[in-house]
């Protein structure tokens, strides 16, 4: 029976796997003879669930799931302030906007790490190691710089009607965690992060 579950459940998160007992007990709660076996029901359930999931993730767009109230900085914002904003808002990345509100770049934690000597693996622990080995502050190399120095430019942006599925593909292909959603003129409308996609497709209403 478990072999059966594994075969039919492929492609679904393990938490969604139904046990035969679940179906059997549910069938017992419905009075009257159900002209279907638990195995048939499970197959219908898996196929229907997969279909619904596909439909939902296809129809949702970046504009529908994006975070609208986004912290942002300008190219001439000092990095000390950029870091403070990111810390205060609890985000790991911010878009960089010019005077017209157009997205000119993105800064993430990774960009800080990259310019602070953590060249090899670009993660926080590399930085900790560097910090523990030297006496000075590892942030010194970028102390006097501003956003324009370390931002990734041009930023990866999508339009509001980009399907969520496509956004997810961009995340995976480019190994990034957020994209800016911009209108046709390039002005910022919001941000879609990996978290937004998880929230939108988990079925739990925020």
């Amino acid at each position: 029976m478990s072999e059966e579950t594994g075969k039919q459940g492929s492609g679904l998160p393990p938490g969604l796997a139904l046990k035969d007992e679940d179906i059997y007990e549910a069938m017992k709660q419905i009075p009257g003879y159900l002209d279907i076996t638990p195995g048939d029901f499970k197959e219908v359930y898996y196929l229907a669930y997969r279909r619904a999931l596909e439909r939902l993730s296809r129809s949702l767009t970046a504009g529908e799931i994006m975070t609208r109230e986004v912290a942002y900085v300008h190219p001439d914002t000092p990095l000390a302030e950029v870091a403070a904003i990111m810390g205060r808002r609890g985000v790991s990345g911010v878009p960089v906007l010019d005077g017209d509100g157009k997205v000119v770049g993105v800064i993430s934690e990774k960009d800080f790490l990259r310019h602070m000597g953590a060249t090899e693996t670009k993660n926080f622990m590399t930085l900790v190691a560097g910090c523990l080995k030297t006496k000075g502050c590892v942030a010194l190399p970028i102390k006097k710089q501003n956003a324009a120095h370390i931002m990734v430019s041009p930023a990866v942006t999508v339009s509001p009607d980009t399907p969520v599925k496509e956004v997810a593909a961009i995340f995976t292909e480019q190994n990034i965690n957020r994209v800016a959603v911009a209108d046709a003129a390039g002005r910022l409308l919001g941000i879609v992060s990996r978290g937004d996609i998880v929230k939108a497709t988990s079925g739990v209403r925020p």
Binding site: P31, Y33, L34, T37, P38
Partner: protein, 180 residues
């Protein structure tokens, strides 16, 4: 490769749960009244004429329309369509192929299933209805295509009326799920 073929014969799942006692009793009452109505008319009245009203396949229909009332196979579209279509096919097979009765029987049932599938009226007792057109004896043979009207359509309509009345009395039962 052959291993997979034989493994399929072991089955993969379990039998559905047993229904409750009230469900059993409602099924009993429905089929008693349904078959009772048709049989009463048959033996008390119709039998003395050239006609018949009670045929074996109605007993099979009773299992579905009183005992498995949620089943797609038990819905009015299937009940009426399956019986009448199969009756016409059965009579046709007999007319065309008698006295080659083995071929008439096989062709009648197989074709009935195919046409019931194609018309979304699959109703297992229809297979019996087609067969009865061939093995039902001289009285049935003499009816010709009338067989599809009396006993088949008439008997089925009476059974359907009883199903509509009895299956909707209990709060936990309803019939049909759909009409056509």
């Amino acid at each position: 490769m052959m291993g997979g073929y034989f493994r399929k014969m072991a089955g993969t799942t379990q039998s559905p749960p047993r229904v409750g006692l009230t469900e059993m009793l409602w099924s009993w009452l429905g089929s008693f009244l349904g078959v009772g109505a048709v049989a009463y008319l048959n033996y008390g009245w119709v039998e003395s004429t050239d006609l018949v009203l009670l045929i074996g396949s109605l007993g099979a229909s009773a299992v579905l329309i009183y005992g498995a009332i949620k089943s797609p196979l038990a819905q009015p579209r299937n009940l009426l369509g399956g019986h009448i279509i199969s009756a016409l096919i059965g009579v046709t097979a007999f007319k065309l192929l008698a006295p080659n009765l083995w071929l008439a029987s096989a062709l009648a049932v197989a074709t009935s299933i195919l046409v019931m599938h194609a018309t979304k009226t699959l109703h297992p007792p229809g297979g019996a209805t087609a067969l009865i057109a061939i093995l039902g004896g001289p009285k049935i043979h003499h009816l010709g295509y009338l067989y599809a009207v009396v006993p088949v359509a008439a008997g089925v309509v009476i059974m359907l009326l009883v199903a509509l009345i009895v299956n909707n009395i209990s709060a936990s039962r309803r019939y049909p799920e759909f009409w056509f």
